[in-house]
Structure formats: C-alpha cells, structure tokens
Amino acid sequence: MNPLIDNLGPLAQALGTTLLMAVVAGVGSIVLGVLVTIARVSPIPVLRAAAFLYVQFFINVPLLALLLLAVFALPDAGILLPLTPTAIIVLTVYEAAYVAEAVRSGVNTVPVGQVEASRALGLTLWQSLRYVVVPQALRAVVQPIGNVMIALAMNTALAAAVGVVELTAEVNKVNLVAAQPILIFSSAGLIYMAIALAIGLAAGWVERKVAIAR
C-alpha cells in the first residue's frame, strides 16, 4: 500500500545514483579545489589569474544554468557524454570553486613563521607547499569543506531537473503515480538529512583525527 515500499527497488537504485554522484563529485572537487588553490598561491601570475577567474566564474553562475548548458547545449557542439557523468563533471567543477575558497581561507591561517621556517630549512616552494602549507591548511578547513560537501549532496538534487534519475527525480516519479506528495517528499527529505548528517559526523571525526594542538 505504501508507495515507497512498493517502489523500493527503483528508489534504492536512485539513492545509489545520488550517493555515487555525491561521492565521485565530492572527491573530484576536493582534488580539483586543492589544485586550484595551489595555482592561486603560486608565483606564476598567469596561473594565479586563471585560478581567480575560475573561482569567480563558478561562484557567480547558477549550477542549474551550467547543468542546462552542459546537458542540452553542448551536444550541439558535438560534446556529448552520458547524462550522469555529465552531471557529475559539472558538479565537480562547480563545487571545486567552493572548495578552493575554503582551502584558501585555510592557507591564510597558516602562520607566516611556518613558511619562513620551511624556507630557512632550504625547502623549495613545492616542498614547502606539499609538506608545510597544504597539510596545515587542509586541517584547518575540515569543517568548511564538510559544509561544501553537504551543499554538494543537496545540489545533486538539481541533476533531477536535467533528467538524471536520482533520488529527487525518482520520488517525483513515484509521486506522480501515487499522489501522496507530503509522505513521499518528506521521506526523501529525511534521506537527504541523513546523508548530510553522515557527512557532518564524518567531518567532525576527521577533524578530531587530524587536529593539531597549537
């Protein structure tokens, strides 16, 4: 009788798609975001400018517009990938800008003396970034990155608007048949809350693990 139980199979599959998108785009955006931050603090002016423009672009353009552009418009130019990978790529490059902003604020928390000490020890620029700056910067921004990841998990719902069959799209489909919107959408809301809670708890756990006493 319960429409959610009747459609457990497709719903589980849709939840799987949501989780897949969140995990792949999450890992991708953290990696890309750190690379963008490194470009942003590098001594090469061209890289700094490019990283700055990258962040500004994605922070100021709505994700939905980018999804529509990538899914509906780019095939006109012969750039055609399957639907879910396209959505994952757009999510990755979009959230990477937010990760880069978070990591940059972490870089600013690294005391100047740390870098000066690493230079005094003779570390090259790359070594002092790799062994001194980035590890400390990342430790300082575990919570902010966790918040970006939660936003990313919420944003996977937008992929429903371009036709990816993930959790929101699937419950919408179930609702069109069963017409019990309040029950169905609230349950989906609970699942998203559980995902966000899991990310929040994971971020808290990681933060305790990597915390450095100062």
């Binding site: 942003r40 603090v41 001594p43 090469i44 002016p45 061209v46 890289l47 700094r48 490019a50 500004q56 672009f57 922070i59 100021n60 353009v61 709505p62 994700l63 939905l64 517009a65 980018l66 529509l68 552009l69 509906f72 418009a73 780019l74 006109d76 130019a77 012969g78 750039i79 870089v107 600013n108 100047v112 003396g113 870098v115 000066e116 620029l125 002092s128 970034l129 700056v133 939660i150 919420m154 996977t156 719902a157 937008l158 608007a161 929101t168 419950v171 919408n172 609702n175 017409a179 919107p181 309040i182 959408f185 609230s186 989906a188 809301g189 998203y192 809350m193 995902i195 966000a196 809670l197």
Partner: protein, 317 residues
C-alpha cells in the same frame, strides 16, 4: 615578521594593496634571477596550455558550426536582450523578496537560537538543521504537488519564493548568530548594567553591531540566493534562466542563448561579489581603527630603515 599586536603606525597604503593582490605572497621569497626565469618559463607554459585548451574548444565549436555569425547575430538585437532583461527583473524581484523575508525570519531564528529559554533554542535549532539539509528542489516539489492537494494554490512567484525563503532563512540565521557570538560578551553586559532590558540590549546594542560585522557574509549569501532563483525554471516563473530556456527553444540557438544568460548572471553576481569584498575591506577598517600612538624617537628611527623597501619585502628579510 615579528608579532606586533599594536602596530607602531598604520601599514602604508601601498604595502596593503600589494598584500591583497598576492593573497598568499608570504609563501615565497622575492625571486632571484633563477626564480624569475622559472616563473617566466612557468608563465609561458601555462599560457600555451590555456591557449591550447581554448583553441581546442573553439575548434570543436567551429567544427559544428557554432561559431557561424548567423548563430550569434540575434544577440546584436536589442529586442532579444530586452526579452532576457525582463527575465532578469523577475530574478531580481524574487531575490529581493526572498532576501527581505529570509533576513527577517533569519533574525528571529538567530535570536531564538541564542535565547535563554531551552525549548525555543531547541525548536529554532531543529528548524535550522532541517532547512539547511533538505534540497530546495525537494521543498519546491513538495509545495508544487503538496499544497494544491490541501486546497492552497499559490501564484507562481510564491511557489518559488516560499521554498527559497524556508531554506535561506536558516542560512541567514546561522550568519547572524555567528555575528552575535563574535561580539564580546561585555557589550551585552555593559548594556544590562546601564539598566537596559535584555530586549533593549539586544535591539540597540548587540544586534546592530552583530549585523554590521557579518554584512559581507550577508551579501555573499544574497549572491547565492540570487543564483538559487534560477530554480524558477522548475516552477515556470518568469526569471532569467526560464526566459533563456524559452528563448533557446524558440530560436533553436541553444549555445548562444545559454552563454548570454551565463554572461548576465556573471555580470550581476560579479558586481555583487565585488561589492561584498569591498564591504569586507571597508568594515575591517571601520570597526578596528588603527590605534594612534605617540611617535617615539626610537620608532622614528625604525621607520627610517623601513622606508626604503616596502613592508611586504621587509617581512621576508
């Protein structure tokens, strides 16, 4: 850099500008000849790589006839832009309503979150946690399909505005709460000891300062909210992205239309973001003025040494 809690003199304007420009300039020394050569090589390599990427993209577009002038010609006509700008008006209208309602509700929630009464704190905290962790799209669907079922039918504008307000109020509440918590407790205590009631202390002393401290975050959140109004595309509210989509399917020019829409969003939000970062710089100066200390002879001597180089360089010596 030695720790200098109370600076002897304000940092010269020139040095401050340079610091801002470099962001994290402290990471590297002023480059020597070899460093400069490496930077030059790096610049050339990255320019070549970027040029190659852009070139490949343009080549791909050109190969599919996307760069043909007739595909972009409609966008030289004012009528097309006018059509899109009417959409932008809708976007701004929705964003303004959400901002006002969200900020009002957010303030109430923030006050509830720091209230002395336990259950008020709990209820507000619960609302904030729920509203922050449920996708707006899901709330929109719930309103779109749920409300008509119980006999409420809202105009299109409100189908967009209500879910966005629900979501953004929680974020505004968190921002304002952060502002309240960032104030020294002495502010409230001083107000209370002057004989103000707790409500008066909140409205006249704590809240104005708290809001001023978090103004940049509020503007940033407004940018994010303006982006969220693109969800009007789902509820068929006449905003920029929806108009863009209608125009794209009418003209059969998908790429040029979406590029134009993206550019409009970029211009509007970019200027708002720039405004936010200006506020951030401005407010820092306004709230913590440089203490003016009497100039001591010894300090003057130090200044003299500093004068030749600029202070960012001096930091690295």
């Amino acid at each position: 850099m030695t720790a200098q809690l109370i600076p002897d003199r304000p940092v010269p304007a020139r040095a401050r500008r340079q610091k801002r420009q470099y962001g994290a300039s402290f990471i590297y020394d002023v480059p020597g000849p070899r460093g400069r050569r490496n930077i030059l090589i790096g610049s050339i390599v990255s320019v070549v790589v970027f040029a190659a990427i852009v070139g490949l993209g343009l080549w791909q577009f050109a190969a599919h006839g996307q760069l043909a002038p007739e595909r972009w010609a409609p966008f030289t006509e004012w009528a097309i832009w006018q059509y899109l700008l009417v959409g932008l008006l809708g976007t701004l209208e929705a964003a303004a309503i959400v901002a006002v309602l969200g900020a009002a509700l957010g303030t109430v929630l923030a006050l509830g979150r720091v209230s002395q009464v336990r259950w008020v704190r709990f209820v507000c905290g619960l609302y904030i946690e729920i509203a922050r962790t449920v996708p707006v799209l899901l709330v929109i669907y719930l309103m779109l399909f749920g409300l008509p079922q119980i006999g409420i039918n809202l105009p299109t504008l409100w189908k967009l505005v209500v879910p966005l307000t629900i979501a953004n109020a929680a974020v505004f509440a968190e921002i304002i709460r952060a502002g309240i918590l960032s104030l020294p407790r002495g502010q409230r205590e001083a107000a209370l000891s002057l004989g103000m009631r707790p409500v008066q202390a909140m409205t006249y002393v704590v809240l104005p300062q708290a809001v001023r401290n978090v103004t940049p975050s509020l503007v940033t959140q407004f940018v994010s909210l303006l982006k969220d109004t693109s969800l009007g595309y789902i509820v068929a509210f006449t905003e920029l992205l929806y108009r863009g989509q209608v125009l794209a399917s009418y003209l059969h020019l998908l790429i040029p239309t979406y590029v134009a829409v993206t550019v409009i969003y970029l211009v509007v939000n970019g200027s708002l973001s720039a405004f936010a970062s200006r506020l951030q710089r401005g407010s820092r100066r306004r709230t913590s003025p440089q203490p003016v200390l009497p100039t001591l002879p010894a300090v003057v001597a130090v200044e003299h040494v500093d004068d030749g180089t600029d202070s960012t360089k001096a930091d690295h010596v």
